[in-house]
Amino acid sequence: MDCKHIGKPMKRVEDIRLTSGRGTFIDDMNPFPNIHQAAILRSPYPHARIKEIRTEKAERMPGVKAVITGQDIAALTNPFPVGVTAPVKYYSLAVDKVRFVGEPVAVVIAKNRYLAEDALEAIEVVYEQLPAVVDIEKALEPDAPVLHEAVGSNIANHRHFHYGNVDEAFRQADLVVKHTFFYPKYSATPVETYGVIAHYDPSEQQYTIWSNFHGPFTLQSVMAAALRTPSNRLRIMIPKDVGGSYGIKSGVYPYMVLMAVASRIAGVPVKWIEDRQEHLAASSSGTDRVTWIEAAVKRDGTVTGLKMKMVDNVGGYVRAPEPACLYRTHSNTTGPYRIRHLQMETIAVMTNKSPTGLIRGYGGQQLYFPLERLMHMIAQKLGMDPADVIRKNLIRAEEFPYTTPSGGVYDSGDYRKAFDMLLDIVNYDEFRQKQKQARAEGKYLGMGLACIVEPSGSNMGYITIALTPEERAKSLPKSGCAEGATVSIDPMGGITVRISTTPTGQGHETVAAQIVGEVLGVDPRTVKVVAEMDTLTSPWSVASGSYSSRFAAIGSSAVYQAAHKVRQKLLHIAQELLQVPLDQLVLEHGRIAVKDAPGREISLKRLIGSTHWNPDVLPPGMEPGIHETAFYTIPAAMPPDENDQVNGSVTYGFVADAVTVEVDIETGEVKILDYTTVHDAGKLLNPLIVDGQILGGLVHGLGGAMYEELAYDRNGQFLSGSFMDYLCPTAPEIPPITIKHLETPSPLTPLGAKGLGEGNTMSAPAVIANAVEDALSGLGVTIDTLPLSPNRIWTLIQDAKQKMEITA
């Protein structure tokens, strides 16, 4: 397709309002009169029984409308549904027990936040402390404290998977390489915290909730079930602007239910804006994970089989969409490699940490850290160059579409070409020489490599792999990735696009305008895109929302299809008016003209106008007006089959990274010298936005590698409740970054695009760890956890030194 607008670096239409302070965020909004403010009392204990809550004093304080406790919530709501069979009761306020520090225990509704916060101090809660557990392996021990008595253990979900003939692969192996890795719990720290404005109208029994929630809208049904309300009595509205999320804000939904009930009890609209301390302690985060991984390897570096046991820590409650973190990358567990035999054991364990949920990369960083570290270890064991081991195992271009052992169907790619591009850009061989010289001068330089497959556009069916085939058979199958969009044109020719992809800063308005501009032959800047979401009026479905990098693959395709419906309608009208066959007509420059017949044309304005002002001229049977909605899904998103094979995402991109570092072995400080990343995300829709998204994801991954951790002490106390305790990378920590693209179009999407922006969040922790270990090669240091703080690296160096002295 020869494009005028799609694929061009158009500047974002959102930026003028955002850079001039004219954005509309949740805290700017006052959609109802008489809004009261909420403040939340939270547990200081990681695990305790609530013996009594005394609220009388708080209720009598000035300006206080209501004080709500777990008993109110248990009376008015159901526990949130979740996709596991373990009987875990999770409510929006603690009922009977608290299970993590920061868990909401009571809510005060008052005239303003000051009065509400003061009243919190007057609430007396009598706790009986219980032993706590935060460590994954300890939580699995038979005598561990149990969080949910009804479950009987801390295991929320447990499955085994066998693909191919793993035992045979390991029997035939020349070498088995294995290691255990620990991935830490961290967040994405969006600048804007959670916010909710909720209003209950008893006359219509209608809940209306404004929030910076961004889906997945499967959670609308979860919220409606919790509120015991018909789904059309739960209207969810998302403001025009959301100040970043990276997955984290999908975890606002328990608070949406909490505030909805608070509004119902207090009889006034309620607003709650989370503060930063609350956000770090109790919003949402990625899981921490322990992975035991083993590879069957041939002497030439070919990896033939993998065994993995992975245990995700989902915190105090397994909360929807968890345990999806374990399964989001299920289809691409073998990464970019042609490994045919795979055995997996997956466990979600509950401990006294905050509950987890979506986060950029979701499951990818936890998967690729062990996998890509292991590829590096295999090279070491065989005395091979890591680049050769990676190259040997990469899926070949002619093997696409490639079906993985676990059922993923990689739609397109040329991994070796992209990887060779990377090695070429970084002058790989030259670097190895430079590294040797530097070592001779006492400098510790290292280069890390990592290759990953980046899944995008989640299949709604993948999460049901948490259930056994027999359990799945008991309910209706789930599949698809449906998303909607509406293109309408008003009587004066103004084009409006309505999307349900709830952007949180990714520039969907811009790209939607580019696509509609392209299809309708108009300037994208004249197209108005409405990104505000409203579950009563927007075109949406369960898969709607902003997650799994699904806009480029799915959301944009829905826009494209809706625009095409409009285009077809306009062409049909022109056909009637100009009396020529369709294939003789061209739509461009704001008009429809007859090919090779100068002057025989009709303006779009006239065509559109006639649908509203003069429907008399329309072809027989055609409806007046222009208002076309399209829903789009990809057939490749099928339900899991009886062998537990599932294609968890619809498109799969590729990322190859190389990072160079220098390690100061006296202080343990790691300096990242440069970062090069080659991406293949199919056809790019807007290269300017693409590079911005890639940079953001990369910096998030770098934060995970180097700085970020939601730390707890062994008693379950939370230790990183402010930005002085929880470190995030800032501009000075960012190395020079080179981004290059290869564009292998997806055969599945109408524009050939795939999702992107999460890839480096998945790869950066692995590639930086590989680089650091490479820099310290020969010292006997093994990196199997993060973040790579100077303290950790220094300790590893000292321990390795001591070990060497002992053996010497």
Binding site: Y45, E121, L719, G721
Partner: protein, 151 residues
């Protein structure tokens, strides 16, 4: 978090011991202690107001005196709860006479905190604990010296 220390106090051991058992003296010497009342045998309820890093707030505390072996030894058990979280602490105090007018006091303590104060204050906690304890004994010493001057 644990710690220990010692201080030389002016006064015979019985007098020092008596002072340390006196709630009025304790109220005066504990930083941020607004009031203290006897609620049971050797059990006090106290209103404490302490700021640790950015976490300022009031704690509703219970202080129990245990293992009393007058005039040589006792243990203080503190449990405080409030807006900023909670504090659980134990201190063991031993007195030895140096001569007729001087007494050596040695102490060990362990403390745990929870909630906001742990989430934000952890970095500062060791320093703050040292400050609070140091300040307490300094004030006790002053109190004893003032008593001597008046006498």
């Amino acid at each position: 978090m644990t710690g220990n220390g010692s201080i030389e106090l002016n006064g015979p051991i019985e007098h020092v011991f008596h002072k340390l058992m006196d709630p009025e003296v304790l109220t005066e010497c504990i930083m941020g202690c607004k009031s203290m009342e006897l609620v049971g045998e050797r059990k006090y309820r106290a209103d404490l107001s302490v700021g640790i890093a950015a976490v300022k707030g009031k704690y509703d505390a219970y202080i129990t005196v245990e293992e009393v072996q007058a005039p040589h030894h006792f243990k203080l058990v503190v449990h405080g709860e409030g807006g900023p979280g909670y504090v659980d602490a134990e201190g063991i105090i031993d007195l030895t006479p140096l001569d007729e007018s001087k007494t050596q006091l040695t102490y060990t303590y362990q403390a745990e905190v929870g909630g906001k104060v742990a989430a934000i204050g952890q970095r500062m906690l060791g320093g703050v604990a040292k400050l609070l304890i140091g300040d307490f004994f300094k004030k006790i010493k002053k109190n004893l010296e003032r008593g001597q001057q008046i006498a």
